[in-house]
């Protein structure tokens, strides 16, 4: 099987699995317990926290709150950050931010959606234009999960803060962390990451927060995570996350170039009479979105599954809707949106796999157009 749906989720890596197993069977104590076992688990979480944070930002300026995943991190950022006036985001956001912004209306905050470019990205200027003195919160996706377009969140955050320094700036980094270089600047207040996109377990993520920023919790209770996220910690998920990240970052940075080459090899081998490219060339090397115009991506996806090639369509989280909201926001018509396939790579993807996948895509699409 060739698995090219790594932007949806990845297989857990061996190192993470090993650590998780240990925490399931041996060190299963509640990290809040005041006996040896509890302290031991608590220490493991502390170590994982430090190690993960160091990969993303300067630990002296930022702190890290473990969450149940990307959606929770995004929700906490939006609902705890956008508390008055208006809030600005893009039309290219993942549903976790987009739907939360839609809900803001019911909570007395005016949501503002900035249109995206054809590639799904957004310019700093376009965001800053919608920010005014009443803006309390801005959220911009770092890597667009459907097209792979990269937003320069550092520049956007700088432009936003120049316009209104009181704004809380959040970036959804779920598809960026581990996939492109990430280093948070002091203009960024909040940053969401998720474990299962880089070989960790589902159900674990983190919200990175600038120190000094006062943020209310989303979940109240026993006061875990410094009171910012109550609920018994998920030690196996957390330790596995850190183990997965350590393995991920221990690999050479040339990997990105190799993956980008795989992506381009795949695209070159696609039959251009059947497929057109959606992803920008300068986007995340891990994501290639194409459209089999006039066909139905979901059907192609199943034809490919039957051929042993696993790909995505739009975002898996929103695949209950027929057309991808994000692809339509990029300005594509429905027949393009309907035919979108998202091929997303892992660090282990090879050129050979990419070429095989391209062949399967060509076969499936020509079969589809013959039959339908």
């Amino acid at each position: 099987m060739i698995y090219l749906d790594n932007a949806a989720t990845t297989r857990i890596c061996e190192a993470a699995m090993e650590r998780a197993r240990e925490l399931f069977t041996e060190n299963y104590y509640n990290p809040s317990a005041k006996y040896g076992g509890g302290f031991a688990v608590s220490a493991m979480i502390k170590k994982a926290r430090g190690s993960l944070l160091a990969q993303i930002a300067d630990p002296s300026k930022f702190e890290l709150i473990f969450t149940s995943g990307g959606t929770e991190g995004d929700n906490q950022a939006v609902f705890c950050g956008a508390r008055r006036g208006n809030a600005v985001t893009t039309e290219g956001e993942h549903a976790a931010v987009y739907a939360s912004f839609t809900e803001l209306k019911n909570r007395g905050v005016e949501p503002r959606f900035v249109p995206v470019r054809r590639d799904g990205g957004v310019d700093a200027q376009a965001i800053a234009e919608r920010v005014d003195e009443k803006t309390s919160f801005v959220s911009v996706i770092h890597v667009n999960n459907e097209t792979g377009a990269i937003n320069d969140v550092a520049a956007i955050a700088r432009a936003v803060k120049a316009k209104n320094p009181r704004v809380i700036f959040h970036a959804d980094g779920v598809q960026a962390f581990g996939k492109i270089p990430v280093r948070l600047t002091s203009d960024i207040d909040l940053y969401t990451v998720s474990a299962h996109k880089i070989g960790g377990a589902k159900g674990t993520g983190a919200l990175v927060k600038r120190k000094g920023l006062t943020l209310p919790p989303l979940l109240f209770g026993g006061g875990q995570e410094g009171g910012l996220r109550s609920g018994t910690e998920n030690p196996f998920g957390i330790v596995a996350f850190s183990a997965a990240a350590e393995e991920w970052f221990s690999r050479p940075s040339e990997d990105a170039a190799r993956i980008a080459a795989c992506r381009e090899a795949l695209f070159s081998a696609l039959d251009k009479t059947l497929f057109r490219r959606i992803s920008p060339e300068g986007g995340s090397p891990y994501i290639l979105s194409v459209s089999a115009v006039g066909m139905r991506g979901e059907v192609l996806q199943r034809m490919l599954w039957d051929r042993g090639v696993v790909v995505g369509t739009g975002s898996a989280c929103s695949s209950k809707h027929r057309f991808s909201r994000v692809i339509l926001a990029c300005g594509y018509p429905k027949d393009v949106a309907d035919g979108v396939l998202r091929l997303s790579f892992s660090r282990d993807s090879t050129r050979e796999e990419a070429l095989q996948a391209a062949r399967a895509c060509n076969e499936a699409a020509s079969e589809f157009s013959e039959r339908v």
């Binding site: 139905r296 059907v299 199943r302 034809m303 039959r371 339908v372």
Partner: protein, 383 residues
């Protein structure tokens, strides 16, 4: 005194010499519906009693009983000895805490020393003197205490009648094969035939990869809800992908749906015969969509000899929806998964297809082998 569920049955009393047959089927269905819950089911004259059950699961038992066809009404009450003190103890539990009430007695056991009026007066009097917040109103009471003296030492005491689904015990009116899609109508059609005692088998068509597993799961969920009423625990699943592709490639586009339905009916008939079903059941309602015109129905009927029952044929959509909500299938039916037709759906389907034209177009296809191939690929999915 013991908590019991009292079940009265509908229509079975109309059956003369076949009554035993109907009653056996009814009690078997009741047993089936209560499977997994500790209980004893006993028949007394004209009633069934669920006894010795786990009281924590009382509501679940009532819900399950409320779905068994043939149940006219049911009550939660007490089975006690027939001595006045025992009956009074049960009546106290059933009586309201305050307000108006009356006692209504039925005395099946005619040798009991008191008659119905005397029993009502005695128990009513005792309730009144015990609880000053109560008062009697025999014309429009807000609560009624029912006493039913069944035998010398078995009396039922209860406070209300719940209306059952009525109908006939499933299995007493033959067997039919329901063509079930993921939509709103077909589960309702199956429910209605089961209500008249029909054993309803299920057949679902899919066109993978044009439809997905989500659509199939949805049908399984619907079948699961339906099985609370019908007891059927499997669905026959048949792929019509090849047939749709062939029709699309060779025949007039406007006839896509008409032709597909003829294939579905042929396949359904072949499977019905294998399963011993005596008819096909569909959720069609006259004029609801392009294929459900009288011409469309005629064109489908023309390829089968088994009768096709369409219990919803005269229903409006909102009437069907109302029933689907009552049965509990509506929420699942409206989930957004596509059923068979949409990828190949013509822009302008023929609304009044002429049979001669349909047959002419169909001659372009190898009908028999397509049907045989589809039937051969049938899967039986249990849930």
């Amino acid at each position: 005194m013991e908590k019991v569920v009292i079940i009265r049955y509908a229509e079975i009393h109309l059956k003369g010499k076949n009554r035993g047959y109907f009653e056996r089927a009814f009690s078997m269905n009741l047993e089936k519906s209560l499977k997994g819950i500790r209980h004893e089911l006993h028949r007394t004259s004209g009633r069934y009693l669920v006894e010795k059950f786990d009281e924590a699961r009382t509501e679940e038992i009532l819900t399950r009983v409320s779905r068994v066809f043939g149940v006219y009404s049911y009550s939660l009450g007490y089975l006690t000895e027939s001595a006045m003190d025992a009956v009074f103890a049960a009546a106290k539990r059933v009586a309201p805490a305050s307000g108006t009430f009356k006692v209504e007695t039925h005395r099946g056991y005619k040798q009991y020393p008191l008659n119905s009026m005397q029993i009502s007066a005695e128990i009513g009097g005792r309730l009144l003197s015990e609880n000053p917040a109560l008062s009697v109103d025999v014309h429009a009471p807000s609560a009624t205490v029912y006493i039913d003296v069944r035998e010398s030492n078995r009396t039922l005491v209860f406070g209300s009648f719940e209306r059952g689904p009525g109908g006939m015990p499933v299995g007493t009116s033959g067997k039919g094969l329901l063509l079930i899609s993921g939509g709103i109508d077909s589960p309702v059609a199956g429910h209605m035939m089961a209500k008249r005692g029909m054993n309803v088998e299920l057949l679902h068509f899919h066109s993978y990869p044009y439809t997905n597993e989500g659509a199939r799961e949805k049908v399984m969920t619907l079948a699961g809800i339906l099985s609370d009423y019908t007891g059927t625990k499997t669905v026959s699943v048949v792929s019509v992908t090849r047939i749709q592709e062939e029709i699309h490639a060779k025949c007039a586009e406007e006839l896509n749906v008409t032709l597909l339905r003829r294939f579905m009916f042929r396949i359904a008939e072949a499977i019905a015969r294998k399963k011993g079903a005596q008819c096909l059941i569909t959720g069609e309602s006259l004029g609801q969509v392009a294929s459900q015109t009288i011409e469309g129905m005629t064109s489908s009927n023309a390829v089968v000899t088994l009768p096709v029952l369409r219990p919803l044929v005269g229903f409006d959509k909102d009437e069907i929806i109302e029933r689907a909500k009552k049965i509990g299938t509506y929420e699942t039916s409206v989930l957004p998964y596509e059923d068979c037709c949409t990828v190949f759906l013509p822009e302008f389907p023929a609304i009044k297809p002429k049979l001669s034209y349909v047959e002419e177009e169909e001659r372009k296809l190898d009908v028999q082998s397509l049907v045989e191939e589809a039937v051969a690929g049938k899967e039986e999915v249990s849930f």
